[in-house]
């Protein structure tokens, strides 16, 4: 029986800039950063208070199940902002929003009151969007 989730996946277009975004801007921790051969890298990060949840920053590049056509399609979809990979929560949305803005994070939605609390939307360096929420509870 499933007990928890340990890995999830965010498709990115460049792992160096993704590292800078998730680690230096969002404040995530590096879990594993392993070179896998020429041009290949296994890179996972964790939210600050969830050290056991690895977010794989999965490079969209040819190899394995990614042929040329798939890479082109995925790249176009990611850049278009098709994928919303997660909802992140924080203790104080305004402070987090102001800090991320100061660090250059692009927001698609400013902090807005919703029935469950407050929410903003930001995009990562590839184009994936995320909800950033402060809930009422």
């Amino acid at each position: 029986m499933i007990t928890k989730i340990t890995h999830t996946c965010v498709y990115v277009l460049n792992q160096d800039s993704a590292y800078d975004f998730y680690v230096n801007k969002l404040g995530f921790k590096v879990h594993t950063d392993a070179p896998m051969g020429p041009g290949a890298r296994w890179l996972t990060v964790t939210p600050p208070e969830q050290p056991e949840l690895e977010i794989t920053l999965f490079l969209v590049a040819e190899g394995g199940m990614f042929d040329t056509e798939t890479v082109a399609s995925m790249t176009a979809l990611i850049k278009k902002g098709t994928f919303g990979a997660a909802v992140f929560t924080c203790n104080d949305l305004i402070a987090t929003y102001e800090e991320y803005k100061a660090k250059g994070v692009v927001f698609k939605k400013v902090p807005t009151k919703e029935f469950y609390g407050y929410e903003a939307l930001f995009v990562d360096d590839s184009g994936n969007w995320f909800s950033l929420a402060q809930t009422n509870s």
Binding site: A34, W42, I94
Partner: protein
């Protein structure tokens, strides 16, 4: 959780966030928290109260947290305890080691040993750290 009406007080948030970012950038220096409060145009008491309401810890406690986190990064790549302690703003390796153990539950030596061993293991067998499904998806194994 902060009880302030967020959108009416955004200018207060910006000043506190700037102070927090200042600590993030200058953690290795002899930061004078009184000076930070002045620069943010708050009394020291008001600054500490607002900072704690937003970040859940006092500015001094937050500075300690940042220093210990940076120390972990330096120890992970094999830096000595002395060099690490000086690099993150401690005057004495002894006081650094004591605080590191208090915060993390491990001595700096034990932490560094474990991290260096892990890094060595990753370099020796990186596939050992990748779930099979992802390794196959990437084409790293058949």
């Amino acid at each position: 959780m902060c009880k302030m009406e967020p959108f009416e007080k955004v200018y207060l948030y910006q000043r506190i966030v700037r102070a927090k970012l200042f600590i993030d950038q200058h953690f290795a220096e002899a930061i004078d928290l009184d000076n930070i409060a002045d620069q943010a145009h708050f009394s020291k008491f008001h600054f500490i109260r607002l900072f704690k309401s937003i970040y859940g810890r006092t500015p001094n406690n937050y500075l300690i947290k940042v220093r210990i986190e940076k120390a972990k990064n330096l120890l992970t790549v094999g830096n000595s305890i002395t060099d690490t302690s000086l690099s993150v703003g401690f005057d004495s390796p002894t006081s650094f080691a004591g605080l590191f153990k208090k915060v993390t539950g491990q001595t700096p030596s034990a932490f560094r040993k474990a991290q260096v061993e892990r890094s060595t293991a990753i370099m020796a067998n990186p596939l050992g750290f990748v779930p099979n499904c992802f390794a196959e998806t990437h084409g790293w194994i058949k």
